[in-house]
């Protein structure tokens, strides 16, 4: 895995973003650059630090009060989520939000269509799928995440949590993303499942050639797969650096882990 070089245009960049909900500042002057080079980064921080809100801003679901969002150098602030998706920034949600009454294949196919659709983006051509192009993309994505073919016709409520997460990732992957934002993908999984997920993410980053950014609470997991970590608390970016940097960082330790520093 190559370390990101400074002169590469970042896949996704946030400049001085502010997000306010009523009286609460959820994201407070956060700037970060998500590199384009393949690999894995992570965002960590206590609950309520604003991590998911950050994802929401990056994917156009929430409009920041001020600040800029740049995708591959282009200003995409205030663009709709589907435009961001077509700009090859994909994400998953906490808890694995799949469409409950569609099969696994159809769940993924729904997303695949908008990327391959000719004609005006977001127009009625999305209602048709000539040449089965979306289906091929969907099946390719499902293969990519290693989901057994047997499960492709099954409905989400018959899958395990890990399998649902995989489907969600496959759905995101149909955009052939440059950046893949995963919101707590390992939450609720047991150790063996987490290992499998990590192996997949590492492999996925290189095979698709994208930068994966995970929000995670499992420190061991984060330290083992992420090359670069951002730490957030109270809506602010506390620190960023390599795992070693973060481990040694006093402010992080105090904010996130309490004043005890028994996490080595």
């Amino acid at each position: 895995m190559t370390a990101p070089t400074i002169d590469q245009v970042p896949a996704l960049e946030l400049k001085s973003a502010y997000v306010k909900f009523g009286g609460v500042t959820a994201v407070n002057d956060v700037s970060l650059r998500i590199p384009a080079a393949a690999g894995i980064s992570a965002i960590i921080g206590p609950n309520g630090a604003g991590k998911t809100t950050l994802f929401n801003v990056l994917t156009g679901i929430i409009r920041p009060v001020s600040g800029q969002i740049l995708i591959a150098g282009r200003d995409m602030t205030g663009r709709r989520p589907d435009e961001i998706f077509r700009a090859r920034i994909a994400r998953t949600f906490q808890g694995a939000r799949l469409f409950a009454h569609l099969s696994v294949r159809d769940n993924v196919r729904l997303a695949a269509r908008s990327v391959s659709a000719p004609g005006r983006p977001g127009g009625p051509s999305v209602w048709f799928d000539r040449h089965g192009d979306a289906l091929r993309r969907a099946e390719r994505a499902l293969t990519e995440v290693d989901l057994p073919h047997l499960l492709w016709s099954v409905w989400p409520d018959q899958l395990t949590l890990l399998q649902r997460r995989l489907v969600e990732i496959a759905r995101a992957v149909t955009a052939e993303p440059v950046a893949l934002l995963l919101d707590e993908p390992a939450a609720g999984l047991n150790t063996a499942e987490k290992e499998r997920l990590c192996a997949l993410l590492v492999r996925l980053a290189t095979s698709i050639g994208c930068r994966i950014v995970v929000i995670e609470h499992d420190m061991k997991l984060v330290m083992s797969i992420a090359e670069r970590i951002w730490v957030m608390n109270f809506g602010c970016l506390l620190s960023e650096g390599t795992p070693a940097d973060i481990r040694a960082n006093e402010a992080v330790i105090e904010a996130y882990l309490g004043t005890r520093s028994h996490h080595g």
Binding site: D82, L102, P121, G123, V126, T160, A192
Partner: protein, 297 residues
Amino acid sequence: MAAGSLEALVTVQLIYLIAALGHYLPLSMKQLDIGIAGYFAIGAYTSAYLTRDCDMSFTVALLAGAILAGAGAFVVDALATRVRLSGFAYAIFSLSFAESLRIILNNVEALGASGGLVGIPPDTTLPLVAIIAAAVVAGFWWFDRTRLGHLRTAIADDEFIVPIFGVPLVATKLTIFAIGGALGGLAGGLYSHYVLFIRPDDFGFALLIALQLPMVFGGLDRFYGAVAGMLLLGFIPEFVRVLAQYRLIVMAAATLLVLIMRPSGLITHQTIAWLRSGCRRSANERTKVGLSSDPSS
């Protein structure tokens, strides 16, 4: 046609089934478009006027009624979406449309006003209705498997994330609503050419109840539930002679009871999966394991 005869019962219930399925489309997407009686009325009056006073063929009149009703649904829902009405307000708005239409019809002399429209040519027959109803049900089965059908399911499941995948949410919803309204109009046209005499008061709240309650009773999860509900609550009280005048009360009581105990209605997709096959279910149970015993990993 002898009113009250078995044939009349079946025909009218099948017509209601078609209209109800039209109503099912917005309902399943959690859109409380309850102006369905209005779309039914548009279809009934338009087609009747065209065959009776304009000498058009039945087919053309039916289609015209359906298209006009679909357009009506489109307009009503487009307006409501434009103003971003919440669920309840949406319901009231669509209801006001249907009721206003009814009151206006009560005053339009060319359409018989409150006295009603008589002398409608008896073009509807049971075989015709049965074929159309079967076609609509089959059409729904097919629709669920098309792209637009998938979108409907997705919107019904989780409207929030659908736009993220590049789907034009509003255009899609409005199109589906229009299709629903058109089905209601089609049913209305069949209705007026069967009962041969229609009055604006026929298309009031009672009609809405007859169309909506059985569907919610049957379950909105899959359209099979709506069909089952319409058949159960529509047909059974009719056939058991002694229950005839208790029809509405039976319908209401049954719906109330079912909803209290099982808010999702009688039939959900789990019921269907259970009914379908035990073997396919247990096969999935076997694959429903994590890493440790996953043979294909």
